[in-house]
């Protein structure tokens, strides 16, 4: 009787020990062999109280905006995956279901759609800013290269996400694009088959696009972004060309820190972005074109806006020059462009940051920008 009472007393003590903050802390410290107070100190000194670089300006938040949008994509995308069914028969219907019957399904989907577009938009801005500010220069070549991979992955995200609703427009855009790729000499057929997962765009395609969209690409992007950001944290952000000459260390008495200064700035950006996303999603919700019909080609096939310039460029190329097919005429400059893109930080090796003092690269960049804008507008209005 007495022993039993004692036993229950001990159990009570034990549970209380786990539940109290102090007790839990001790338990964790013992079990995982870490000093939690040291860890929080470390977080405080290395992250929260970390002094901000003096040359940090608003434009440097673009990268974090992409990151934030990616987090939004992961959350909304996961929510969508609960209801989305990746088969040609059910995909369209399941999206309809999401839009009409899942509580706030329409909102989640529209946010996913708009965040995807904003993500690509801010990515392009990030890229342009890094390029024209010469931020890729020694010692940041690695950042640039990992960035180009990020770019590829995000476009792949857009491309694979695009066909998931299995509607007429996306179905035929994908069919057309892949069949053109199939026209490439030698390897074309194999690339086409591996994208389509079969002879036709069908259930095979949908399955692998879905797996790519929600498993492979997120995993790849997560790790790449992690590396990208760790390297930025290690190397610091690059100097600004207009502040290069001025030096006045005497002002460093009152440094800004990551918390609260940068976090506050970021919070302002974040809430503005939330408002923007909400506005876009509510006032311009994603529609749903008719279900894909492999027997009926729609009158007009246009890809998403960020691929429109490539599409338009492709369209204005002649069908054939001598025996060279159009795909080849397209592929050659495209491949050259990719190679040039990768080699930018390795060939622009001067220490000069001012855009007007590195005319060749500023010129190339401007040309690329103008090319993108012209062909995108041309594609939009034709």
């Amino acid at each position: 009787m007495e022993g039993e009472k004692k036993y229950w007393q001990a159990v009570k003590e034990n549970i209380r020990g786990w539940l109290s903050l102090e007790g839990a802390r001790k338990n964790i410290e013992v079990r995982f062999g870490i000093d939690l107070s040291k860890l929080t100190d470390k977080i405080k000194s290395d992250l929260l109280n970390r002094p901000l670089p003096k040359n940090l300006i608003w434009i440097h938040y673009l990268g974090s905006v992409i990151l934030l949008l990616f987090v939004i994509q992961v959350i909304t995308g996961t929510a969508l995956s609960f209801y989305y069914k990746p088969t040609p028969d059910e995909a369209h219907t399941s999206i309809k279901y999401i839009m009409n019957y899942v509580p706030y399904g329409w909102l989640i989907r529209s946010i996913h759609y708009w965040a995807a577009n904003l993500m690509i938009l801010s990515l392009l801005f990030h890229l342009a800013r890094v390029y024209f500010m010469g931020a890729y220069k020694n010692p940041r070549e690695f950042l640039w290269v990992s960035g180009v991979f990020n770019l590829g992955i995000i476009i792949a995200f857009g491309f694979t996400g695009y066909i998931l609703p299995w509607d007429q427009i996306s179905y035929w855009a994908t069919t057309t694009l892949t069949s053109e790729i199939g026209d490439l000499p030698l390897i074309g057929k194999y690339i086409m088959l591996s994208i389509r997962g079969g002879e036709e765009v069908g259930s095979g395609t949908l399955t692998r696009f879905f797996v790519g969209h929600i498993m492979i690409l997120p995993a790849a992007l997560c790790s790449l972004i992690l590396v990208h950001i760790l390297v930025v944290a290690r190397q610091g952000i690059s100097p600004l060309w207009w502040k290069q000459k001025v030096t006045n260390p005497s002002h460093e008495s009152q440094p800004r820190t990551f918390f609260p200064h940068a976090s506050l700035d970021f919070a302002i950006i974040m809430f503005t972005l939330f408002a923007l996303l909400m506005g876009l999603a509510v006032f311009f919700p994603t529609g749903l074109p008719d279900k894909a019909n492999p027997l009926e080609i729609p009158a007009e096939i246009k890809p998403e806006w960020y691929l429109l310039f490539l599409y338009q460029f492709y369209r204005v190329l002649p069908v054939k020059i001598l025996f060279i097919k159009r795909v080849v005429l397209f592929a050659i400059p495209f491949i050259i462009f990719i190679i040039v893109l990768f080699s930018v930080p390795f060939s622009d090796i001067s220490e000069e940051l001012h855009p007007l003092k590195r005319r060749l690269f500023t010129g190339l960049g401007t040309f690329a920008l103008l090319f993108f804008l012209t062909f995108t507008l041309w594609g939009l209005f034709s």
Partner: protein, 424 residues
């Protein structure tokens, strides 16, 4: 010299015959005709008759094994060129033979029917051989099955085959019949469907006039001809006052309004238009202030109104769809409403206003229903907007608070940086 030439050619001929004989035993056994009648030979070789194992002798008689001119003597049953008048009999020898035709699944009544056709009557009663006999439509030697696209009587070729004679002014002038049927037919709804869209449901010439028994339908037969396909229209027409007028031969049934060979897809205009090149609207017979004409106006306006409400409903549906709403149900409802109009079109032939308006009212009510259903969705969308606009303002409010906070805590001066000092 001359005899040498003859000898050489005889030897060559024999050699040729031998070689040919080995390669084509059928020919060697059965026909010497083709030696001279080359053209006929070429045509005949492509025909269904040849495919079924027939040869020249089966129609023309004579002795194909006899290599001399005597093969074509009367004694050997040679018939020579067949008289046009005899052609039907000749063909009928086989084609009316039940035993023979059964194995090919062919009809056997062609000749019997032909004799009662306008063609047959003129041929046999008047002895006028300008009319069409079997060979005029089927050709003489390269006869093909009607399923063969090269056949003159392939469904898409029939109209041109008939037109070969019926568009010939010289030929037709003796009979006092027009020659513009084909031109009109080509432009008609029937012609366009069949000839351009290759739609076999639309009639060619024989579908109205009969095949071997070709005749023009009489005034009071038109409804049975058109009614073969357009039977609801025929049935409702028979309930109308027009049916009586037709029985008195005052009007020519369907054709009075719709025309015949140049028949167009009818539009709602037909209820009010006057005489036209083909057919005529109500205004063609009824004066514009008559009660009957006003009935036409009323039906037309009813129909136009229904169309308008359909258009509006479609617009509503499209708007909701673009906002991401599911509109399948509404689409189906609208289709059902439109089907009421498809149903009422035959009923208009009865010119019974109560019956017609009953359908149109249902159709319009259907369209209204759809609009209301969709409207509920659009209202929901607007409600959503209000709710989320509040949300957006909350976000923006937070932004303002944060900006105020920022003003307070930011160090006043932002000191300039030395080059490459950006180590975090």
């Amino acid at each position: 010299m001359g005899s040498l030439f003859l000898k050489v050619s005889k030897v060559l001929f024999a050699a040729g015959l031998l070689i040919y004989g080995f390669t084509d035993p059928g020919w060697a056994q059965r026909s010497s005709c083709e030696e001279c009648h080359g053209r006929a030979k070429v045509d005949f070789r492509r025909s269904i008759h040849k495919e079924r194992g027939m040869a020249c002798v089966d129609c023309h008689g004579g002795d194909p094994l006899d290599m001399t001119r005597s093969s074509m003597s009367k004694d050997k049953g040679f018939l020579g060129k067949i008289n046009k008048k005899d052609v039907p009999y000749l063909c009928a020898k086989c084609h009316s033979d039940v035993e023979l035709m059964l194995q090919y699944g062919e009809y056997i009544d062609e000749f019997a029917v032909y004799r009662h056709s306008q063609h047959g009557k003129i041929l046999y009663k008047k002895g006028d051989t300008k009319v069409a006999v079997c060979t005029d439509c089927h050709s003489a030697h390269d006869i093909k099955k009607a399923e063969d696209p090269e056949s003159w009587v392939y469904p898409f070729n029939v109209p041109t085959t008939c037109a070969r004679c019926h568009s010939d002014k010289n030929l037709m002038q003796d009979y006092g019949i027009p020659t513009d049927q084909y031109e009109k037919y080509k432009e008609s709804i029937h012609g366009k469907l069949r000839l351009e869209k290759k739609d076999l449901r639309a009639p060619g010439c024989p579908d109205c006039h009969g095949v071997h028994g070709a005749t023009p339908p009489g005034v009071d037969e038109v409804h049975s001809v058109c009614g073969k396909c357009h039977f609801p229209q025929r049935n409702y027409f028979q309930e109308s006052p027009h049916f009586e007028a037709m029985k008195d031969k005052k009007i020519n049934e369907c054709a009075s309004c719709h025309g015949s060979h140049g028949i167009e897809a009818p539009t709602y205009e037909l209820f009010t238009s006057g005489k036209k090149e083909e057919g005529s609207g109500c205004g063609g017979c009824h004066s514009p202030d008559s009660r009957e004409y006003l009935l036409g106006v009323r039906i037309k306006n009813d129909l136009l109104e229904a169309e308008k409400s359909f258009e509006k409903a479609s617009l509503f549906i499209e708007t909701a769809r673009l906002k991401g709403f599911e509109v399948d149900e509404e689409r189906i409802k609208l289709k059902e409403a439109k089907a009421k109009i498809t149903e009422v079109l035959p009923i208009t032939h009865s010119v019974s206003i109560p019956l017609v308006e009953q359908y149109i009212t249902t159709a319009k009510a259907g369209a209204e229903d759809v609009k209301e259903l969709v409207n509920a969705k659009i209202v929901e969308w607007k409600d959503r907007r209000v709710m989320f606009v509040i949300n957006i303002f909350i976000f923006l409010f937070v932004v303002i608070l944060l900006i105020i906070k920022r003003k307070r805590i930011m160090p006043k001066s932002n000191p300039p940086t030395p080059p490459m000092a950006g180590k975090l």
